[in-house]
Subunit: 471 residues, 2 copies
Amino acid sequence: MTTSIDFITACINAIGSNYVLTSDTDKATYLIDQRQRVTGLAIAVVKPGNTEEVAAIIKLCNQYKVPVVPQGGNTGLVYGSVPDDSGNAIVLSLTRLNRIRTVDPVNQTMIVEAGCILQNAQEAAQAVNRLLPLSLAAEGSCTIGGNLATNAGGTAVLRYGNARELCLGLEVVTAQGEIVHGLRGLRKDNTGYDLRDLFIGAEGTLGVITAAVLKIFPQPKAQLTAMAALQTPDAALRLLTLAQNACGPTLTGFELMSDLCLQLVAKHMPHLAFPFEQHHPHYVLLELSDSESEAHASAMLEALLEQALEQDICQDAVLASSTAQSKMLWELRECISSAQAMEGKNIKHDVSLPISQIGEFISTTDALLQQHFPGCRNVTFGHLGDGNLHYNISPRVDQSSDDLLAQQDQINRVVHDSVTRFNGSISAEHGIGTLKREELLRYKSPIEIALMKSIKQALDPLNLMNPGKVI
Amino acid sequence: MTTSIDFITACINAIGSNYVLTSDTDKATYLIDQRQRVTGLAIAVVKPGNTEEVAAIIKLCNQYKVPVVPQGGNTGLVYGSVPDDSGNAIVLSLTRLNRIRTVDPVNQTMIVEAGCILQNAQEAAQAVNRLLPLSLAAEGSCTIGGNLATNAGGTAVLRYGNARELCLGLEVVTAQGEIVHGLRGLRKDNTGYDLRDLFIGAEGTLGVITAAVLKIFPQPKAQLTAMAALQTPDAALRLLTLAQNACGPTLTGFELMSDLCLQLVAKHMPHLAFPFEQHHPHYVLLELSDSESEAHASAMLEALLEQALEQDICQDAVLASSTAQSKMLWELRECISSAQAMEGKNIKHDVSLPISQIGEFISTTDALLQQHFPGCRNVTFGHLGDGNLHYNISPRVDQSSDDLLAQQDQINRVVHDSVTRFNGSISAEHGIGTLKREELLRYKSPIEIALMKSIKQALDPLNLMNPGKVI
C-alpha cells in the first residue's frame, strides 16, 4: 500500500494531479468495456499529455512494478483495454494525445497521435482533398492508437487493407519507457527488422503506440452501390471474380448477406425499404469508388450486372441512381447486427476463410450446427471480398436466448473447429484480448505460441504491458 | 575437424550425398556474390529437397553449432547470401524447393516454395489470367524466398507495394529447426503477434522461409506509358499529384530521371531513340495499368498530359501509341544503370525519402557534393512515386573512376547524412547484408538497434542464422 501511494505521488509529480484519477467515480468509465460485460479494477487512471509523459509514467511503472493497461476509445470487442480485477494495474489513457501533427498531401501521409479519434483524422484528410480509408462502426469514438494496436479492419479493407497496411511508421514507448522515434513516412525502407508490424496488432502487450504515420489517398470522384440477388454463396463468389476482372481496384465493397438477415431487418426496421420484388436466398452489396466520374462508375456497374444476369449468376439486381439510394442500400447491410440484437441475444463469430472456401464452409458448418442444435438460425453476413464472415447464431424460434447462450461453448467449438479445418482464422478483425485468449491457445500451433511468448519475454520481461491479454 | 566430419555425415544421412556439396569446385558458385566482389568459405553447400529436410538440417546445425547462410538465387546486392571467410558455416541452398504448390484464382493467392524463380511464379499466375505484380531486374534468376527475406521492391511498388505487402502467410523453419505452418491465405487474421512480417525482411537472420502465400490480382486490360519533359524535380512532384488525383490506382509507374541519365544512354546506347526534339533538365516516365481498355487508358493519359502542359508543369510530352513504343520508353529508363556502368565505375546509393521532400533533398545534396567534390556528376533517377532514388555519383569528366572510389566513404557520409536529415532511409529496397551493416549501426537509433538485438537473441539465441548479417 505504501508502494502504491509512493507510485501515485510519483505519477502526480510527473504529469500533474488533474491527470491521475484515483476516485472510484472518476475511474468508473475507464474500468468497464463498452458492451458493459466486463468490469475491472485499477490503482489509478493515468492520463499523460504527450509522449514524454507516457515514457515517464512507464518508467515509474517499471520502478514500482505496476502493470499498465493502455486504453484509447475503449471501444474494443474483446476486453483488451479493460484491466483485470486484481486492482494492481493502472489504466493508461491516451486520449489527451489527440493532435494531428502534420498532413502532407504530396507525400500522401498524415502524422496522428494515438488518442486522436478516427473521425477527426478522416476529416483532417478530407480538408486537403484526401481520403483516410480506415472506416468502421465505432469511428466517432475509437482512436488511432487502438485501431493500430488491434489492427482494425472495417469496410474499406478490400481496396485499402487493414489498419496495418495504412501505417508507414510508429512512435512507440517501449515496456522500459524508452521512446522509439519511428515516424518515417517512407514507402520503402529495408533497414532491419520490421518493428512497426510487431507493435501493430499486439494489443498493447509489447509497448504503447503514441503516434503513427498514416497513408492517405486521392478522394474518389464518385461512389456507387448496387445490390444483386442470388441463389448461393458460390454464386456470390462467381460474381466477385467477375467484378474483380471487370472493375479492378475500382471495386471497394463486396458484402454478402443471407435472406434471413434482411428478413430480420424488415421485421425490426420496417421503415427500411426492401429493394426487390421478391425474396431470394442471398444478396450481395457491391460498391465502386471511381477516380473519374459518377457516369463512368454507373456505366461500369451496369455492364457488370447485365453480364451477371445474362450468365445467370444473379437473378435480380438494383443499381443505386443517387448517393441517397446508395446510402439506403448500405443501411440495410449495416442494420443487420442491430436487427439481430432486437430479435434477442445471439452468439457472434468474427471469422475469416480463404475466399474460395466460403461456400463450402457455410454449407458444411450450417449442416453441423443443424445436426447438433436443430432449428438454430444462422444469421450469416460479412465482408465476402475480404473472406470475413460474421457467422452469427440466433436461437430457434421456440427457444429462449438464455437457452441458446447456455450452449455457447459447444457452438463455438463446432464453428471454430470448422474454421480451423478450412484453414481460417477465429478472429478476423476483433483481436484476442481476454475474450478469445483460451481459444487462441487451443487453435494456434504450439510453435507459434512459443515464438509469441519468446517475443513477449524479450520485449517485456517484467510482463507489465497489458498482462493477461493475447498471450 | 572430427565434429565437422560427423556433421557432414549426419547431413548426408539426412538428405543424401548428392545434395551435400563439399568439393571446392562444387561449392564455388555459391560462395561468391553476383557482382563478384565478395567471396566466402563454407564447410558445405547443403541442398535439402523439402521443408522437412530443411528442418532436419537446421536441427543438425543446432546439434553441431554450425552457422547457416540461407541462399536463394544469390542475386542480392548487399552480400546477404554469401558466407564470411571463417569457413565455419554451411550455405543452405533452397533452390530445390522450387514448386508452385497451388494457384487459387478465386482467393487470388498462390502458394510458392522459397526456391521458385520469380519469373516462374509470374508465369503460373498468368496461366490463370492473374498478375503476380512483383517484378524486378533479376526476376529470371532471383527466388521467392530471397525476395521475401529481403522485402524486395521493384517496378510495381507504387500500386501493389513491396514484397511484404504481397505476402499473406509463410511457412518457416525456425532457428531451432521447428516448422511454422503459417501458409494461411487470409486477408484478415488478428490472432496474435505478426510473426510473418518479422521473418520478411530479416535476411535469413531469424529463420528460413520455405514457402509463402502470395497475393495475385486481375490482369490489367492495357498498359500504356508516356514521358514528360520538365524543369525540376518539384515540377515532377506536381505532376505526380495531378496524376494521382486524375488516375487513382490506375497510375502504376512514375519514374524520374535527370537529363544526364538520358545523355549517358544516348552516348552508350545510340540505337535507343531519344523521344524529344530538344533536351530538358528532367523527365518523368508515367505508366497506367487500366482494367478497361487501351482506348480508355489512352484517353486518360492524354487528358492528364494536356492539363500538365496547360499548367506549365511540363514543357513537352510523348505518349506511346503502342505496346512497342511503351517498351521503348521503359528501355530508356532501364538502361540508365548499364549506361552509367559503361561510362565507368561509380558510387551507388539506394535511398528513400518522404516524396514531398525529394526536390529539396536533391538540390541540397547536389550542392553539398559540389562543395566537397567539385565537378562530380550526379546520375539521379528512380521510382519517384515510391520516394526511392538511385542517387548515383560518377566521377568528374577529368577524373578516374578509381580516384572517385577512393572517396567513397566520404561521399557516402555526405549522402547518408543528408538522407537522415530529411528523415529518409539509407536502404530503400536492397537491404543491409554485410555491405550496409556499419551504416545501419551509425544511422539507426540505439533503442531500435537494442530492440532488434533482443528479438534476434530471443529467436536465435545460438546466433546460428546468417550471423554477421543485418545486426
